[in-house]
Symmetry: C2
Subunit: 357 residues, 2 copies
């Protein structure tokens, strides 16, 4: 089978979702002379300000999705919780990259963990929970402390409740509306790192150096590169990301979150898209994660993802963004064009770079 031909400059990339990730993908595509049309129900979607076109409609509007698919050459997305019917409508016209398998695997925590175990990677102990009986059995097997997570639609700490003791189980499940869940054993980790990897249509892989993540209130606060881990572990992390990419015959950028434990690396989860913990690449690498994703999706050879500088990325959450002047003094400032700085809302980020140590 030959690889699909690369889309020439002037081609149009469709992006499902026009938030900050869609916006930064659009800016990267523009650098490469590619046009972008974004699909997003929000008339003020951040990406819409920097795109050639904006199909403003809901993800259940099949006619709008077909219109969108009709004016683009390939479709990608900035979030993984896209309804199946929307994907069907688009895929009838143009390819979706990364493909349905990557989406299906990552949309559901149970299939994600099963897949990861299946390719020989370590994950936290887990058990599915769909009934009260399964919940009791899971708690008995996994123990506490543990975390009950909905199988779908979780992000930024949402859709999960910690169990401190077995007695918390019923209330936790009620809080999650008794949706299908996964109970995860609590992992005692030294640090959380992530690897942003990319795979092209020809199978070429390029991974960025692992970054070390610190969260606040369940939301990523900083990513620091290089991570404070031994060189061998960094290599392991990159190889592990490569294994996921190959197993999924993946095209595009993936974000893989890993826990560093006393027993080695353990996969927390992966996202089939550009990832907040990869924003540091914008100012510290020759080619950043957004351009790498666009290159892959457009069928281009991947770029050189080498890191020329060390970096600390700090998210600007909610009112943090009011200090934009100060943030702009501190380093590479990236603001998302969102009008209202609501609490917990990602408004922008700052990349501070320094010479490689």
């Amino acid at each position: 089978m030959t690889d699909p031909a690369p889309l020439p400059p002037g081609s149009t990339i469709g992006i499902l979702g026009g938030g900050q990730l869609g916006r930064m993908l659009a800016l990267a595509a523009a650098r490469l002379g590619l046009k972008v049309v974004v699909f997003d129900p929000d008339p003020n979607a951040p990406a819409a300000q920097v795109c050639a076109g904006h199909e403003c409609a809901g993800y259940d509007d099949i006619a709008a999705l077909e219109r969108f698919a009709g004016v683009v050459d390939v479709v990608t997305y900035e979030f993984e919780n896209i309804p199946t019917d929307a994907l069907d409508a688009v895929e009838a016209h143009v390819p979706i990259r990364p493909d349905r398998r990557a989406l299906a695997t990552s949309q559901d925590r149970l299939s994600e963990k099963t897949f990861l175990e299946g390719i020989g990677l370590r994950v936290a102990p887990f058990a599915p929970v769909e009934t009260a009986a399964e919940l009791a059995g899971a708690v008995a097997r996994i123990g506490t402390p543990s975390i009950l997570k909905t199988r779908r639609f979780g992000y930024d700490g949402k859709g999960q409740v910690r169990l401190r003791s077995p007695g918390d189980a019923a209330a936790a499940w009620a809080e999650l509306n008794e949706e299908p869940c996964v109970l995860e054993g609590f992992v005692r980790f030294e640090r959380e790192i992530s690897v942003i990897g990319a795979r092209g249509v020809s199978g070429q892989i390029a991974c960025f150096d692992p970054g070390e993540n610190v969260h606040r209130d369940g939301i990523l606060h900083t990513t620091t590169v290089p991570a404070s881990i031994p060189h061998g572990l960094a290599t392991d992390a990159v190889l592990l990301a490569g294994r996921i990419l190959n197993a999924l015959d993946y095209v595009g950028v993936i974000g893989v979150e890993l826990f560093v434990t006393a027993e080695g690396l353990l996969v927390n989860e992966f996202a089939p898209r550009v990832h907040n913990s990869g924003h540091w690449t914008q100012d510290a690498c020759a080619i950043d994660q957004f351009e790498q994703h666009v290159r892959a999706v457009a069928g281009w050879p991947l770029g050189d993802g080498q890191r020329h500088s060390d970096a600390v990325m700090t998210n600007l959450i909610g009112a943090d963004a009011h200090d934009w002047l100060e943030a702009g003094r501190a380093g590479g400032l990236h603001l998302y064009g969102k009008a209202e700085a609501r609490p917990g809302r990602k408004m922008g980020h700052v990349n501070r770079i320094s010479p490689r140590r």
Copy 2:
């Protein structure tokens, strides 16, 4: 006098001219959460694909210029040959940065050279030519080889003819339609360098390291940074750019072209805008020339223009752009979204970076 307040994120920058410079300015503004509306008569203007708005009209359409000025908070430009009436129409509503003085000085080679001499900088010997008698006198005084250049509207080697001997003078002037000209003595230079400098509303100055330029067929071919010049000369070049910026009470980015001669630095010309020879900053600096210009125009503090890598920028002219796949493998590829690769047309550029030597 207090400095004007910085424009907050969400403000709108108007750009006169929607070519590649306007496009890259728009992308930089987007990174900072600023909106852009571009004014350009071309419906396919490269910048229009990445902007919130496009006023598509001629520079003589005063009503359109007023509409444009009415929806933006400040106006800048990507080219210096803007008609005076257009500037008047815009300036009645919003500030133009860099201001009219910078434009007026640089639009006319005679006022440019007179200004530069006036602030104590060296330029090539020159003489104004408006009549046949002045032409004869100029040739007698400056000698040959020399170059006859139109006072206005010259770029990329256009609007100039070389005189090899005094006998060429009349034909050269006829070729330039007997427009007002300047005769310039031919400068024997070792190399051409340029300094991209920026000045903020508060008078803060930040200059990028000088780059060394090589032209082909009158069009910039490569810029290499660092330039092969002694450290002291690089410092002189930066100080000299700073002197121009201060003398003009300038706000924005300026491109200053210099000749390195046996007797030291000599100013060739300056452009009151981002400059092709500053494109290397996109991939080799923490903050590039486009963002620096946007910051200055928006009244923000300038960013840190330090160079983290060495760089070679190569323009992709005309059919060069057909090799976009190869160019994309070589380094940071920047394509301008132009459909047709006509000979001599700037289609994009590639920045190859390497660790600082």
